[in-house]
Amino acid sequence: MSEIRALQPQIPPSQPNASSAASGPASPPQPHPAGPEIRKFLRERGNSAAADRSFQILMVLCALSIFGIVALIAIVLMMRSNMAWHQFGLKFFYTYDKDPVSGDALFWDPVNGHFSAVPFIYGTLVSSFLSLLLAVPLAIGVAIFLTEMCPKALRGPLAFLTELLAAIPSVIYGMWAFFILVPLLREHVNPWLVKGLGWSGLFVDDNPTGLGYVSAGVILAIMILPIISSLTREVMSAVPHSQREAVLALGATRWEMIRMGVLRNARIGIVGAVILGLGRALGETMAVAMVIGNSAEIHHNLLANGSSMASVIANEYAEASSDLHRSALTELGLALFIVTILVNALARILVWAVTRGAPAENR
């Protein structure tokens, strides 16, 4: 502070007071006698336009790094999958080679160089679809309970518990599913599925391990529940109370109020939440790798072993035998990247349309 005082000029007492409004012609503003020293002092302290500008540029660069990450991942994946792309082209995704002698399908044969994404796309779609079938009704039910029916005291703890489900790492889900869920399904649920729904041809009792699409679907359902549920709750809370009150004023029961006043208005956002859950289910790796059985084939039987895109990458990448093998796996990774980006973008657009651009939860 004393340095500032030292820079202040000594004002002679006879100087006219320039601030009187009715005085004569205003003299041009006199440059401060200690101006340059003050400016130097401030610049040394970082109080300059250059410092501000360089800080802003630094922050812009940090923000642009997000674009950079997406671009970098896309470019590097495309470069590495070039070999498989040149060899197989688009047919990688919808056809597969057949053994010329026996007519068997050769889906994924690293030894002889036959690669096709068909069994993995099938496995990913089947397990994700099963998980949505199980998770969406439950998640919407939980969201309805927590938003409309729950006593205020329970709301906090229950919401915390559902968010805790989202925080559990997927390897722990996989381990719990492998040791406890799969035997449970094998002993108690699968026989009932075969007995009750075996007529459809979807449930055949020929897999004694209990691993398969159904087990993967169940554990995926548990994993995507908190995402769908928390986004649905957010979307339902964004519906203005006037809607609810209007429906109630017309004599609706509580369920009718929820159906007509809340769900009808929030349905776009709920669709977005479901799509976000689908995006998570498509990319889920560890839990699926542990319970889906890891066999690169297509089966109508939902109880049979299968494989998903993420699980085959996790299982085979570290020990890929040839460059073509690794390139094919990278192409699977690129496909997964593009699909999840599109699905997530669609979901975010839908959710933002309802919550009007409020910062979306990232869980």
Binding site: M59, L77, A139, V142, P169, G174, I258, G283, V343, P359
Partner: protein, 296 residues
């Protein structure tokens, strides 16, 4: 009191309402049940194997009883430190741009959207990209490239942290009242210093909370580490070598055919989940108490 003129219709409406209430309660119970089941089993199976050995010894050769996961815990710490070093500064920088300099601009909206979308990209894709960038390319001038290494694993995890930290920092900075910023600028504090020393400091409980959230999320990730850090059965903190990580070790041990390794996997899972639950609960506690005690 009938709900509508027609008595049958009233009955149907009342019964439907009660049924739906029951279904919603059932759904909540069905959702909480697996959570409780997971915790109960983890504690039941893991608590018995948690002893001092677990935290201090490295795994024994296959077939021998005993050993621990000390190298995995230390390895995870190293990986997470490297990830935080990469992810947190860049993420906070991005958040500062979104909240302070770019508020309302189209670029900021695009960045926010991309960050949300990047959060949904599967972690295995990050691992493949890190492998392609660092592990499989051998550039002689840049260290750590060309082989499996802890550096590659740390970079993969760090890239995953950036969007999360960016979004939470932005949300926390948006909550700082304008009066604080204006007071600082009115006193002649340069903009950069006002943002860093005053706005960011005011929001710092929330920003730290966001970093902890990203940290907890990344601590449990296994998929990016499978073919970047690769795992290691021995003590190693070398960034240039494969390193053990707790979730990776749990994965390998859980799928092995050895009962002793299963036991260790359960104990490791219990340690991991206790850490993550503690972090998430702390986050919840801090945000519910109000993050801006320092402002106005």
């Amino acid at each position: 009191m009938p709900l509508s003129g027609n008595p049958i219709r009233s009955k149907i409406r009342a019964v439907t309402d009660n049924t739906v209430t029951g279904l919603a309660v059932l759904a909540t119970v069905l959702v909480i049940a697996p959570l409780v089941a997971i915790f109960v089993y983890l504690i039941y199976k893991g608590a018995a194997s948690l002893n001092l050995d677990f935290f201090t010894k490295i795994p024994k050769p296959v077939g021998e009883v005993g050993g621990g996961m000390a190298n995995a815990i230390v390895g995870s710490a190293v990986l997470l430190a490297l990830a935080s070093l990469i992810g947190i500064p860049i993420g906070i920088g991005g958040g500062i741009y979104l909240a302070e300099f770019g508020r309302g601009t189209k670029l900021a909206n695009a960045i926010r959207f991309t960050a949300d979308v990047l959060n949904g990209v599967p972690s295995i894709v990050m691992g493949v990209a890190a492998y392609a960038l660092i592990v499989s390319t051998h550039i002689s001038l840049i260290p750590f490239t060309g082989h499996f290494s802890a550096f590659a694993g740390g970079v993969a995890l760090g890239i995953m942290m950036i969007p999360t930290v960016c979004r939470t920092t932005e949300e926390m900075l948006l909550m700082v009242p304008h009066a604080v910023r204006e007071a600082a600028l009115g006193l002649g504090v340069p903009n950069w210093r006002s943002v860093l020393a005053i706005t960011l400091r005011t929001a710092s409980p929330g920003v730290i909370t966001g970093c902890m959230l990203a940290f907890a999320r990344v601590a449990g990730e296994t998929a990016p580490l499978i073919f970047t850090a690769l795992g290691n059965s021995f003590w190693s903190v070398d960034l240039n070598r494969p390193i053990a990580a707790l979730p990776l070790q749990i994965y390998v041990y859980a799928l092995s055919p050895y009962d002793d390794w299963h036991r260790l996997a359960w104990a490791g899972a219990l340690v991991l989940i206790v850490l993550i639950v503690a972090a998430v609960s702390l986050v919840r506690y801090v945000t519910s108490r109000g993050v801006l005690k320092g402002a106005s």
